[in-house]
């Protein structure tokens, strides 16, 4: 299946208002409309690697939104293969740049901006953790590659044969790679199919978002992540004693 261009994808999500999104070195920032209201858009495309400069540009745009467009929903599009694996980036504290981006998003949340993520392409590892997974609600296109890593990569690092991992992933969706198994874990609220009216879906997502992190509940309900919620509750009960 040929991947749609980034521009085609923006148009699918935001219609003609997608022209308000600018792309520079596969980092996107701008303002568009969803459900008739102005939204701030940040994100990545082309499966780019996120480096210090990219994180700063995303953060700057979130700050701009907080300052100039109070309470405007922030839509985060994710298509990134990971954090830039680079020694200078690490030396300069890439983790801190990501932490700063997360702090900006947290400030936005507290100031009443709804945060919605749409995983559009690759949504993996540190690149997903540093902004997309921090949303109030996370959605994914069914064509998106969502998760920790494909089974082959997991096998290469853990030295566990691919066949073993594949067999186990039938009963443990956490080991499977993709938007659907990720949704079973509660990591994605809903997967959007090619035939879906994603503009309407996005508008609804914004309208219904709440700041309560519901992923553990979802994961338990959907059966993909059965332990997390109970363990958390046990800790909360034990600490209250």
């Amino acid at each position: 299946m040929k991947k749609p261009s980034a521009r085609a994808l923006f148009a699918r999500l935001f219609g003609s208002s997608a022209k308000g999104i600018s792309v520079e070195k596969s980092v996107l920032t701008g303002y568009a409309a969803a459900g008739g209201t102005k939204v701030c858009v940040i994100g990545t495309c082309d499966g780019t690697y996120i480096d210090n400069a990219a994180a700063l540009r995303l953060a700057a745009h979130v700050i701009d939104c907080i300052e100039h467009h109070p309470k405007a929903p922030i839509v985060m599009l994710v298509d990134s293969a990971g954090q830039e694996p680079n020694r200078v980036a690490e030396m300069l504290g890439l983790a801190s740049y990501f932490g700063h981006l997360l702090s900006c998003l947290e400030l936005a949340r507290r100031k009443g901006h709804k945060l919605i993520t749409v995983a559009t392409g690759q949504a993996v590892g540190g690149a997903f953790l540093c902004y997309g997974m921090f949303a109030d609600r996370i959605y994914a296109l069914d064509s998106a590659s969502v998760g920790l890593m494909p089974v082959e990569a997991m096998s290469a690092v853990t030295k566990i044969p691919v066949a073993v991992l594949r067999k186990l992933s039938k009963t443990m969706p956490s080991l499977e790679f993709g938007a659907k198994p990720f949704a079973l874990l509660g990591g994605v609220e809903e997967v959007w199919a090619a035939k879906d009216d994603v503009q309407a879906k996005l508008a609804k997502a914004i309208a219904t978002a709440s700041t309560e992190d519901n992923r553990a509940e979802l994961g338990r309900k959907r059966g993909g992540r059965k332990l997390a919620l109970d363990i958390r509750k046990k800790v909360l009960a034990a600490s209250a004693r």
């Binding site: 702090s103 953790l129 921090f134 998760g147 034990a238």
Partner: protein, 292 residues
């Protein structure tokens, strides 16, 4: 006796015992509850009763705290579903009870054997950390070993109000071996320990302002540093994020093309590079003119 041994050589349980007031630690979800990873069991990998993280309530200098210590020896301290849920629960409890939370980090990030469940758990813990911060409940990360804070846990550590490091501690996202594979040995020789530590070690992190304290590799020194931070919190405001944005822009502009960590040290006011390399954490902190 534990107070005099090197912090990085101790086990997670010993670290907690050495850090907090004597006999004040009460473990939550202790080993007899046998909350072990079903993923590891299915894969034929040994499990551990605490799933690689010890959590509980304690007192430090008479003040109540929540505390967690990751077990680096157990699957690299990596975060699986149970491990991560224990952390999420602890930070949520800290936010609910308005009790400071100290996290002694020793983790390479997500536990690959548990796939995406560990990744989501880290994201959930980040949210819980920011719940604490919204309520001005201090969150303090201690990074004191060579396993350090990497991957998602490296990112998570930067979500806490403060980071206390030792010169042994390392903080980053991608480890040296991954980067060497990616960029080649010329760009990053992962066997060059001096380079590795000057890239991600406590001294450089302190110098650039990413670690808030750089202390001796002992429980006493770490306790002192943590105790000083317990009453503080770093608020996230429009002013604070704008200031931070400028700092990080300035850092990138100054050093974005600098491959040599010694040049960064020099530019940050370290005159005697050889001496500073050999200096202990606190000696280094005294020598360094930190640039924010």
């Amino acid at each position: 006796m534990t107070g005099t041994s090197l912090f990085h050589e101790q086990t997670a349980r010993q670290r907690i015992a050495a850090l907090v007031d004597p006999r004040s630690f009460a473990e939550m979800l202790p080993p007899p509850e046998r909350l072990t990873s079903p993923y590891l069991a299915q894969l034929g990998i040994p499990v551990s009763f605490d799933d690689g993280v010890v959590i509980g309530k304690a007192k430090l200098g008479g003040k109540e705290i929540y505390i967690a210590a990751q077990v680096g020896q157990f699957v690299g301290g990596a975060v699986g579903e149970i491990h991560g849920a224990k952390l999420t629960g602890l930070f949520k409890a800290a936010a609910r009870d308005q009790v400071p939370c100290v996290l002694i980090i020793e983790s390479g990030g997500v536990r690959l054997h548990e796939g995406s469940a560990g990744e989501i758990a880290i994201a959930e813990t980040m949210r819980a950390i920011f719940e604490c911060r919204a309520k001005k409940v201090p969150t303090i990360a201690v990074i004191a070993t060579d396993i350090g804070a990497y991957g998602g846990i490296g990112i998570l550590s930067t979500c806490c109000d403060f980071r206390v490091m030792t010169e042994h501690g390392r903080l980053g996202i991608s480890g040296p071996i991954v980067i060497e594979k990616w960029m080649g040995k010329k760009a990053y020789d992962s066997a060059n320990r001096a380079l590795v530590w000057k890239t991600s070690g406590g001294k450089t992190k302190y110098l650039l302002g990413d670690a808030d304290a750089l202390v001796h590799d002992s429980a006493d020194a770490i306790r002192d540093a943590v105790a000083k931070l317990l009453g503080k919190s770093s608020a996230i405001t429009l002013t604070s994020v704008k200031t931070r944005q400028k700092e990080l822009e300035k850092r990138l502009k100054r050093f974005g093309d600098t491959a040599d960590p010694d040049a960064v040290w020099k530019a940050m006011g370290v005159r005697d590079i050889a001496g500073a390399s050999l200096a202990s954490g606190p000696e280094f902190a005294a020598m360094a003119k930190r640039g924010k």
